[in-house]
Amino acid sequence: MKPELNRYRLLVLAGICLLIILFATMVSNLLTQVRDLSSADEDNIQWSISQIDIEFANLDAVLTEQIAAQTGFSDQLQLRADIALSRLNVVNSGRAREIYGDSSEAAELIEKIEVFGDDAVAILDSSEPLDETDLLELKRLVRDVRPVVRELALLGVRIVAERSEDRRAELAGQLSRTGGIAIGLLILMALLLLFMDRLLQRSVRRDAALSASSKQLASTVAASLDAIVTSDSSGRIIEFNASAERVFGWTRNEIVGLTMEDTFIPQRMRDAHHNGMKRYLETGAPRVVDAGRVELAALRKSGEEFPVELNVTTTHDGDDTKFIAYIRDISERKINEQKLIDARDRAERTDKAKSQFMTVMSHEMRTPLNGILGVLDLLKTTPLNDQQARYTRIATSSSEVLLEHVNEALDITRIETGNLQLNSEVFDLTELMQALVELFEPLANEKNLAVKLNINPAMQGPYHGDSGRIHQVLTNLIGNAIKFTEDGEVTLHVSGIHGTETSSLRFEVIDTGIGIPAEQHEQVFEDFIALANSEGRQARGDGLGLSISRRIARAMGGDVSVKSVEGAGSVFILTLPLRRTEPETRDDSDNLAQNAKQAPTCNILIVEDNSINRSVLCDMLTSMGHTVREAVNGEDCLQKAKNEAFDIILMDISMPVMDGIEATERLRRSNGINARTHIVGLTAHGREEYRERSVAAGMDRFHTKPIRLEALQNIVAEVTSKHLSKPDTAHFPEALSEMIDLLGSAKVANIAEKFLSEIAEFTADLRVASDPLDTLAFAEAAHRVKGAASLLGQIELHDAFEKLELDARDGNLTATQIWAETLEAEAAKSKSVLDGAINRHANTP
């Protein structure tokens, strides 16, 4: 824009300069011409020259007259002669000489005239008076010179005419030059005018465009939905658009001239605003300015504060900085946001409440189920006639179905809330499958169906995974297969492919039942979808079973799918990726199974607030031959555990007064006699919810209610088998060498000495003991020594004292002499072991 403007100005200036030069040239030309025209020297000279001839004619006439009259020489003649002679000077001097100057012809004529002049003067100025002869002579001279004079006069006229011709030509040239200059001048002026016209047009167009764009801008600003406020650098408001009037409640006329600080910036922000603006003007460092959209608060005229979204930009008008603020009233939006948040929170609360309700409901349902199943199990152990036995069986299976439903509902809740947890543990596939077959065989037999198991030998072997969940899914699939098959067989087929670390396993449950129409293949996996059969009874799917199965399978990285031909049967396929492990020896589990039957008598504490559950558990354990104590809550448990050592504590987790978690924590911290007792957590809540908390609290295992007789037997067997297992103590038990490492051999030697002296004291007491025995005192003492034995890794001694303690508590402590001998023998063995270990460690650096 600017360089262009400069170019135009330069062009105009150059044009004007050219004009001035042309004009000056023209003026000087014109002046010259005027001068030439005004001086008329030659016209007069021409006149003078032409007159010469006349003067000579006059002289001639006077001479002729005088000669004729014979009056002699007169003054008249003298005057005429003088006048004629005076004219000779005219051609000889001044401008006339200049005119004749270059002409040789003229020079010749002038010479002749001069000769005449000299002769005439000689006659006229002679001292003698002139006589007739002189006059005749003079007349002859005049007659002779007249043609010459005439010729000269004519020549003069011709020369002057020529000269004026030249002059006119020159003048004409000069005139045409001047005219040319004048034309040039006019053209230039015309060009300049054209140029000016163009510039004018352009500026008019620009003006129009500018005014259009400014109108457009004004209308944009006026129509803007955002409030637009313009202020100068001091914060004084210059512009305030219609939206701003609406948003702030000020009219434009009221607010223009006031400052933003005094009007719509809230009191608490005024200082910050003031400093911010000052800082920006001083340093140019923006914070709010040019920072994009910022959320702040503003004030309406009514004094009400409301949230705004603000975008401030600046423009520089010369040295003055203007701030333009685009302000959007977001109070509506904020209210809506809050509404949405509230709605979401409400929905979340409702959802949580629903889950909570489901959880609580299932808990509430499981607690009575626990009672029913427990009592039914106990009932089966009593003598029953056939009918009673059948009723009991039906009641049991119905209760089991009900329990399954409750569990499924809980599973759905858990899956939906994302709380499904998978436990990875080693399991044996063959074992799992065989257990399933055994589980379903009675049901299948009832319908005269065969259940076949077919495992690809390559796929046998232990895997890592949640066997419980796999069991759950397969139970559902097999249950369905049996339910919807009237005759034929149900086949379980396990195949798969081994990957590098994981194997893709494929469990197929194949039935020869009614089948599922192709269009319903996906429907069966939806929640609460049950396909009706022809009799209108519930058909495939238990409402939740298949959908849960699929969800669980997918959670484990696999899937459940179906292939079916209506009327020919269905194949439900569970595919699962499972991590492989090295096969374990199966001896342990055999031992475990044996141990289950031959579990030693244990002292067990049941902590449970529900009296039915408590009594069922109590009866179950008592029937297994264990001694049982009962506590109604955590506090009661702590009280009971203070004075009596237990082998196992069955601890309900949710109880009034003090729950199982807290009771376990306190017990573990107490360093009392039951600090290390095996604690089994029991809960009617979902398996996962309390698992972590209970483990953190110090529980050894965790079981979901209802706990069945078989499960109880297994738990007790497992706990006791650990106690009964006897590691090789002939060498250096781990506990002992650890202790020596930790405390040093000298200190351990001290402890060992004290330990042995305690045993000696104990045996001495035993020997001198007399009826009736203080069994409790012996039990306590045995318990203390047992702990020390365990600490030093003396398993034999530990077990012996444990047995003694138990006997003492049961009041069966007899044959004290034999006990004393046994203990002394064991102590001697331990002494040699301890000494050996301490010495060996002492000798090694």
Binding site: R35, S38, A40, D41, G72, D82, S93
Partner: protein
């Protein structure tokens, strides 16, 4: 323009001159005749001496009739008319050869033209365009180099006549 009247003027002057002719070889002194206007019209004659007695104006100038610059001295025409206390619109000037020209009195300035009696300090003979010659200071101003001025510059002045 003056040329047109020449034949008639010539005849009148010729008759006038004839009466003045004296048969003497010595040249009589030329007098300047001035005829005033109005009811008491009269003709006054000025001799060279009369003119010399009046205030003189001298200037140097070139002319178209002379070669170099020359110095003229004489009596301003205006001063002469003031002396005669005459009034009119124009003045008729007549030369020895009866050349006649009329000049408006408005043309008269205080110092121009003058009736020159001397050129370069010498009186002028008839052969030398004398004895009286009306001259302007031509070099002084371009306006004196105009054609009318040249026609007013009359040689061998003989008679002046103020016309109403």
């Amino acid at each position: 323009m003056a040329q047109k009247h020449y034949p008639r003027i010539y005849v009148v002057l010729f008759m006038l001159l004839l009466s003045l002719i004296t048969p003497a070889k010595a040249r009589a002194e030329m007098m300047l005749e001035v005829t005033t206007s109005g009811s008491n019209s009269a003709t006054v004659e000025f001799s060279l001496q009369d003119l010399d007695a009046m205030d003189q104006v001298t200037f140097s100038t070139s002319t178209i009739w002379t070669d170099d610059k020359v110095t003229f001295s004489g009596v301003p025409l205006k001063a002469l008319l003031t002396e005669l206390n005459t009034d009119g619109t124009s003045i008729e000037m007549v030369a020895l050869n009866d050349y006649k020209v009329t000049m408006p009195l408005a043309e008269l300035e205080n110092d121009a033209p003058i009736i020159a009696t001397r050129m370069d300090g010498e009186t002028m003979s008839v052969r030398d365009k004398g004895p009286y010659w009306v001259v302007f200071p031509y070099d002084q101003d371009p306006k004196y180099r105009a054609e009318t001025i040249y026609t007013f510059s009359i040689w061998q002045l003989k008679h002046l006549k103020v016309v109403d």
